[in-house]
């Protein structure tokens, strides 16, 4: 089978609030699939439905070939789950956490011993087997939490913002582990705020206000969203004033601040560089450069939110 997760018209309402609105997508086996969106966009609700924890209001989904509504327990046996909270028992040692999580997945004896060794090695916890979880530094906690989530060798792994509060080095280490898992055939669905992490995903889905806004490889998404709307980067002495002036120009759809530069999304392919310079210089802003740039994922992200906002 090439499709690990198959989501069709998934919808979840809480009272009159629609948290997830008619979302459909597929995740291929062995793929690292990024799920992007701002807080409250519907990412966690979707994951909870896919893990068999929350019943969809309508639509359906299969995870590892199992229907999440009909057999949520079957789904739980096939998946691993790790959240940003690295849910470990603080008062238990590394070893005891592994024993417990192995135990509730029904692992013991030789099978548990083999997986314990694997997790300890993977997380780099040799020699720390008897350290209390609460005494571990962030990166180790994170890797131990990951290890506990894959003790039962799930074919599909859900990671809900797995790198929150972890230093960059540990983040890189963690992503190497994710790559390894993907290489070995595990399907990974990961939600994240970090757009550099999104770039490491094979494909991404952008969800906003409960709706799927874009899906594809990051290159595809960027190309599709900005198909006939180039982006220019403007460097000027007073970026905030520059943004205010640019917003008044008819050829410019939207502007946003990127560090000390301004990104402007144009309405058409023609680049009105001279017009931009003239406009800014007339209002006392010295322009250093106006150059077309390739859209970043952040541009895509902001654009999606922007357009959803103006449509509402």
């Amino acid at each position: 089978m090439t499709c690990a997760i198959d989501v069709r018209h998934l919808t979840r309402r809480f009272g009159s609030f629609v948290a997830v609105d008619d979302v459909s997508f597929e995740v291929r086996t062995g793929e690292i699939f990024g799920f992007l969106g701002s807080n409250g966009a519907g990412k966690s609700t979707t994951i909870r439905m896919l893990c068999g924890l929350l019943k969809p209001t309508s639509g359906n989904a299969t995870v590892g070939g199992v229907d999440v509504t009909r057999d949520p327990e079957g789904v739980k046996r096939r998946i691993g789950y790790m959240s940003q909270r690295f849910s470990l028992y603080e008062l238990l040692t590394v070893d005891q956490n592994i024993t417990f999580y192995g135990g509730i997945y029904g692992l013991d004896g030789a099978a548990l011993a083999r997986r314990r060794a694997f997790v300890i090695e993977m997380a780099g916890l040799e020699g720390r087997e008897h350290t209390l979880a609460r005494d571990l530094a962030g990166g180790w906690r994170q890797r131990l939490a990951l290890g506990c989530a894959i003790l039962h060798e799930p074919a599909i792994l859900f990671l809900d913002e797995p790198t929150g509060g972890v230093d960059p080095l540990s983040r890189r280490h963690f992503w190497r582990l994710i790559d390894d898992l993907s290489q070995s055939g595990v399907t990974v669905l990961v939600t994240t705020h970090y757009l550099d992490e999104a770039e490491r995903c094979h494909r991404v889905a952008l969800i906003h206000a409960g709706r799927l806004a874009a899906i594809g490889t990051t290159a595809e998404v960027k190309k599709r969203v900005f198909a006939d709307r180039p982006i220019v980067e403007i460097r000027a002495t007073n970026p905030v004033e520059a943004m205010r002036q640019l917003d008044l120009l008819p050829d410019i759809e939207s502007t946003s601040l990127f560090g000390t530069a301004v990104h402007a999304v144009l309405r058409s392919r023609a680049l009105p560089a001279d017009e931009i310079r003239a406009r800014l210089q007339a209002s006392g802003v010295a322009v250093q450069s106006v150059t077309p740039v390739a859209p970043s994922l952040e541009d895509v992200f902001l654009d999606v939110i922007d357009r959803a906002g103006s449509a509402a």
């Binding site: 327990e73 909270r85 849910s87 028992y89 603080e90 008062l91 024993t99 417990f100 509730i104």
Partner: protein, 369 residues
């Protein structure tokens, strides 16, 4: 038969408790502390009443009467006085709580078959104490007078009261079973409620929910450690009460185990139920405290007799589990009542346990689903 997954939860919980000093402290030492505190403080017996004696007769008979007071154990002779001004002073200083005045000619009057009067003066600033002291004094005077005069002519009809099970009417014996109920209720409800809410707070609950473990195994594995600890704690309280307060154990231990187990099971269920509603440890603690401590203290017959409550409150006591547990406990411990005679109480306790555990399971399962 508990399953492998329940066993994993059980082991984990025990390890956590063993390493969590605070919980251990609550579970083991607080009950013992409560027993000491309440056992000694909640005592309505009045002993060692400071007694001033003014013996104007100074005969064998008058001294025998004073001795009867002292030997009763209720009175301590603290001073010998001469005249009402001394008595006044001692009572005002609180050196004496009561005074006994034996008049001149006490022995002579007794011998002549006249009825001499002795005066007992009691500090009445605490009406309850005063009444009790008066009761002690008059019964001592009566029995001493009868034996001294030697010419006992019994009244045509007399009452000979016999108080069973607690002949000395020691309030401790009556209170300790209530104390056991009270302590067990609080520790069992609070510890279970908090242990689950703590998992919600730390996120481990969510992690466990993602695993293929059924609600039943989770609850069983989670509550058995607390059940065993509560049982141990109950045994400790009973032994301590036997040792320190002379609590008798007239019934059999198996009956006691049955009653205590049912009660604890219900209390654990109540703790679980609270944990399904509370999101923070603080809320759980308060809810557990209010729902266990207040009814058990006020509405179980522990301290205030149910029969003297207004009807509305009496009706409420029917849903207070400690009410039934207390009857069973006092019956077994003080009277040696066989289990068969406690069927209504045991049935009520079983119903309580079943109801709490069922409701908690349903709510937990729904939360997970």
């Amino acid at each position: 038969m508990i399953g492998r997954k329940a066993l994993a939860v059980y082991r984990k919980e025990l390890r956590q408790i063993a390493r969590d000093r605070r919980t251990l402290l609550i579970l083991v030492f607080v009950p013992a502390f409560f027993l000491l505190l309440y056992g000694y403080a909640l005592n309505w017996d009045i002993r060692h009443i400071a007694l001033a004696v003014e013996d104007r007769d100074s005969t064998y008979e008058s001294r025998a009467l004073v001795a009867a007071f002292v030997n009763s154990g209720y009175f301590d002779r603290v001073a010998d006085v001469h005249g009402p001004s001394d008595i006044d002073r001692l009572l005002n200083l609180n050196t004496a709580r009561a005074a006994l005045v034996i008049p001149d000619g006490f022995a002579r009057d007794l011998a002549n078959g006249r009825h001499p009067a002795v005066q007992v003066i009691i500090n009445g600033d605490n009406a309850n104490t005063a009444t009790t002291v008066m009761g002690y004094a008059s019964s001592i005077v009566q029995s001493a007078g009868a034996s001294l005069s030697g010419t006992e002519t019994p009244p045509p009809v007399s009452i000979e009261p016999r108080i069973w099970y607690n002949p000395e009417l020691r309030s401790t014996l009556f209170l300790v079973p209530g104390l056991i109920a009270y302590i067990l209720m609080i520790t069992a409800v609070i510890s279970t409620a908090i242990s689950i809410v703590r998992e919600k707070e730390s996120g481990t609950m969510e992690q466990v929910r993602m695993a293929p473990i059924d609600t039943f195994s989770f609850i069983v594995g989670k509550s058995i450690p607390y059940f065993l600890i509560s049982l141990t704690s109950a045994a400790l309280i009973v032994f301590a009460a036997m040792l320190l307060f002379g609590l008798p154990m007239r019934g059999n231990w198996a009956s006691l185990l049955v009653a205590v187990s049912l009660f604890i099971a219900g209390a654990l269920g109540q703790g679980l139920l609270i944990s399904t509603a509370a999101e923070t440890q603080q809320v759980a603690f308060q809810a557990a405290m209010l729902s266990s401590f207040l009814p058990t203290l006020m509405l179980s017959g522990f301290i205030f007799p149910i029969s003297s409550m207004p009807l509305a409150l009496q009706l409420i006591t029917y849903v207070v589990p400690a009410r039934y547990f207390l009857v069973a406990l006092r019956g077994i411990v003080l009277k040696g009542v066989p289990l068969a005679l406690l069927t209504p109480q045991l049935a009520a306790l079983s119903a309580y346990a079943l109801f709490m555990l069922a409701l908690a399971s349903v709510r937990l399962a729904r939360e997970r689903g």
